[in-house]
């Protein structure tokens, strides 16, 4: 069995589906945020795999890899801002459960 692009792609699909499952299932804000990170890293894996398999000996495709570099930087920013928002929420409501943070609903 030769490992092809489709196998990496399927691992990426599985990781994205697991992250989406967690976002739907969990009520804890921190765990929901972790599942978002899993979805981001699934997209990173797909980008790198496509970039590796579509390259030809004459021309190396670097676009996917450079995008991954920017995505990692954006993910770091997103985690910092999101966690500070979660801390602010905790300070205000003393909870991080999504089922109890429903002010906008009423």
């Amino acid at each position: 069995m030769i490992i092809g692009l489709e196998h990496y792609f399927f691992v990426s699909v599985l990781l994205f589906a697991i992250g989406f499952f967690g976002v739907l299932l969990r009520k804890n804000t921190l765990v929901v945020f972790m599942c978002l990170e899993l979805m981001l890293s699934a997209s990173i894996l797909a980008l790198i795999a496509f970039s590796r398999y579509h390259t030809t000996p004459g021309q190396g495709l670097m676009e996917g890899n450079i995008f991954v570099l920017f995505i990692i930087a954006i993910a770091a920013c997103e985690v910092a801002v999101g966690l500070s928002i979660i801390v602010a929420l905790w300070r205000r409501n003393q909870t991080v459960e999504l089922s109890e943070i429903n002010e906008l609903k009423h």
């Binding site: 804890n28 398999y53 570099l69």
Partner: protein
């Protein structure tokens, strides 16, 4: 050999990701996420993208997971209650639908033919990243620096303790 490595790294990525979703304590979720990111870095090594594998371990498994653990300790988040059955079943149905759809998208009759892997990896040297970043992608690179600065200032503003209104006027 490469097949065994691919399967073990894929399992190391997928199984802890499932534990992230299923574990009730946030600390266990963060630890499983760490293992999942290390497995993902192994997959990057198999794709001969060594620089991004190192970056994955340093940024994701290092900085981001540590930040999560720090916030978990700060907030003292306890064990979350088990989700109710209807919510669990609905989420599981969405998950199964996504996995089946992805399977038919990837391995189904309409998919492919997929390109063969070529001998030459584009990003095996970190030198290529530097050259590309400072020639073609110079403007996005600079903008990323500004974005990091904005995020830093924003975090400080958001997480600052709220002052009473009266103290704002006196300079």
């Amino acid at each position: 050999m490469k097949e065994i490595l691919f399967h073990s790294f894929a399992a190391l990525t997928i199984v802890p990701a499932l534990f992230v979703v299923m574990s009730r304590k946030p600390v266990n979720a963060a630890m499983n996420m760490l293992v999942s990111f290390v497995g993902l870095a192994g997959l990057f090594v198999l794709l001969e993208t060594y620089f991004l594998a190192v970056l994955q371990v340093m940024v994701y498994a290092g900085a981001i997971v540590v930040l999560f653990l720090f916030i978990i300790m700060l907030l003292d988040a306890d064990k979350s209650p088990a989700p109710n059955l209807i919510r669990f079943l609905a989420s599981l149905a969405a998950f199964a639908l996504m996995v089946c759809g992805g399977y038919f998208l990837v391995f189904g009759c309409g998919a492919g033919p997929y390109p063969e892997i070529s001998a030459e990896a584009p990003a095996s040297l970190s030198r290529t990243f530097g050259v590309e970043l400072f020639t073609t992608y110079l403007l996005p690179f600079q903008l990323t620096g500004f974005m990091l600065l904005i995020a830093m200032v924003g975090v400080i503003v958001v997480s600052r303790k709220e002052q009473p209104e009266s103290t704002g006027d006196e300079q």
